[in-house]
């Protein structure tokens, strides 16, 4: 039933036939929203007239937490924001502190960082792949993706000690050295995926039902991309070749040879194709880091108590979801004065209410899935 008071609370537009319209509450506990996201929808039958995402169910005030802890103590919290790409967050924080304090990082540590981060990127894309197709009603691809993802988690567990919420990078290096067993495992995984990725395409990409469900659904026009600050595969699906690894290179990325996949159509299918191509590019990067892994130390000497000089700095990295930027202000003490996390999912979700307008409800769920949201990252 349409209730004008509820509509006013959720800023829903009072358009359409109010006799027959109704307000639908989606979430916060709904498998289609991938986390505790709630969307209030104003529906005309199966069509969405307007939508309002309601956030904050997983809000932990991470920025305030960071203002009460030392720089070292903040590090484990990074993995709790985007739990699917914990290593990208690790990297952003350690690189930020290294930038502020001027710490050197040994070459071997940089290689290990890139190797593990790219493995993490693939595992994140696998989870998205499975969950997205589950949203569309396909169950089998989910099992394939999780079987392969398991291989990465096992591999990273031997190195980092954890399977999901890694806290592996250290200021000026990494926590543990890779051995020949790990490198062989990583190389075996690359070889396995090279051949196995074709089966993903056979199973899904060419499927007529999948194509019908995703082609021309949830189109993001290039004009909207910069107004909403979109980044990551969501942006690259709309034809903009922007990747932090390319535009503001950090670590050893400038020395590596890889492509930034771009699709032009801006629909769910384009975002799907971009992510699958990114898996291939990450495999390339992993292979190059294994081949070029230099000998040497994995950690440089850094002080036990970290006190960056007074000032401010930003550091941005490319997570599987887009650009993560951390802005930190230091007052010269061992506790950050102010930390701001600019998270990619937040900006990518903010366009959803615009995209959902006029869509079928089932298509809106496909759109939500194609944005690859991690709600704890949005809520922080």
């Amino acid at each position: 039933m349409f209730d004008s008071q509820t509509a006013a609370t959720y800023n829903l537009e009072t358009v359409g036939d109010q006799e027959n319209d109704f307000i639908l509450n989606l979430g916060p506990q709904h498998p289609g929203t991938h986390g505790v996201l709630r969307v209030v929808l104003h529906m005309d039958g199966e069509y969405i007239l307007s939508a309002d995402p309601v956030l904050g169910y997983g809000h932990r005030m991470q920025e305030k937490i960071a203002e009460t802890l030392t720089y070292t103590q903040v590090l484990p919290y990074m993995a709790r924001m985007d739990y699917l790409s914990a290593l990208s967050y690790n990297q952003a924080w350690v690189c930020l502190v290294e930038k502020m304090c001027g710490y050197e990082v040994p070459r071997r540590a940089e290689y290990i960082r890139v190797l593990t981060t790219e493995l993490n990127r693939i595992s994140s894309h696998f989870l998205w792949f499975g969950a997205f197709l589950l949203d569309l009603g396909a169950f089998t691809p989910f099992l394939h993706a999780f079987e392969d993802r398991e291989k990465i988690l096992d591999l990273l567990e031997t190195l980092t000690g954890s399977r999901l919420t890694y806290c592996f990078f250290r200021f000026g290096g990494v926590g543990a050295d890779v051995d020949s067993v790990f490198l062989k495992g990583a190389q075996d995984f690359v070889d396995h995926m090279r051949s196995h990725l074709a089966s993903y395409h056979d199973l899904v990409t060419g499927n007529v039902i999948f194509q019908e469900r995703t082609r021309d659904v949830g189109v993001i026009l290039p004009f909207d991309t910069w107004g909403y600050g979109l980044t990551g595969p969501v942006l690259r699906g709309s034809g903009e070749k922007y990747d932090v690894r390319l535009r503001e290179p950090y670590s050893i990325y400038p020395e590596l040879d890889f492509e930034i996949p771009v699709e032009q159509t801006g629909d769910c299918l384009a975002r799907y194709l971009v992510r699958l191509q990114e898996i291939e590019e990450s495999l390339n990067i992993i292979e190059q880091t294994i081949a070029g892994m230099p000998e040497g130390p994995i950690r440089s000497k850094v002080p036990k108590i970290i006190k960056p000089p007074e000032g401010e700095a930003t550091m941005s990295v490319e997570t599987p979801r887009g650009e993560l930027m951390i802005y930190a202000v230091s007052d010269g003490s061992k506790i950050p004065y102010r930390v701001k996390y600019r998270v990619p999912s937040f900006a990518n979700l903010s366009i959803f209410s615009k995209m959902a307008k006029g869509q079928l409800l089932a298509d809106a769920l496909a759109v939500l899935g194609s944005l690859d949201l991690v709600i704890p990252e949005v809520d922080r």
Binding site: L55, T225, G227, G229, E240, E248, T314, M325, Y327, R338
Partner: protein, 152 residues
Amino acid sequence: MSIIETALHDVNVTVEAQDYQQSGIHAQAEIQAEQLKSVCRALHSFCFFLETVTAVDNLSTETMQGVWFFNHYRQSARFKVVIETGRNNPVFPSIGAIYPGAVWHERETGEFFGIVYDGSKDSRCLLLPEDVTFHPLRKDFKRPEQQIAGIH
């Protein structure tokens, strides 16, 4: 001339170049509140994307800094815009009509710092519950356990 200076050629603001290697920011500008919209219109027409809208509370100088970050897809050009105001009842202009993505950032920063974004079409709480009466990122905010024990 960098793309930032080109974009802001017709707007009367001073763009200061920053040490990118040290800070990750290419340039910054301290402007007046009434200049913000014209700066944003100029940046939007040059396809700068909005990275974030945030604020920094300075208790020692009794000021509130509004901070806006912009960047460009085609070249590396992070641009920081700063507006400084008093920390009692700070008000900044809303840029939601120019950058629609700013609405959520403004809602978040507004509830965390007690900032009013003047002209915003949506100023509800975003992440905090709708009935909160405190602003957790203000430096004089005391956490519940601090309030009880009287510690600082």
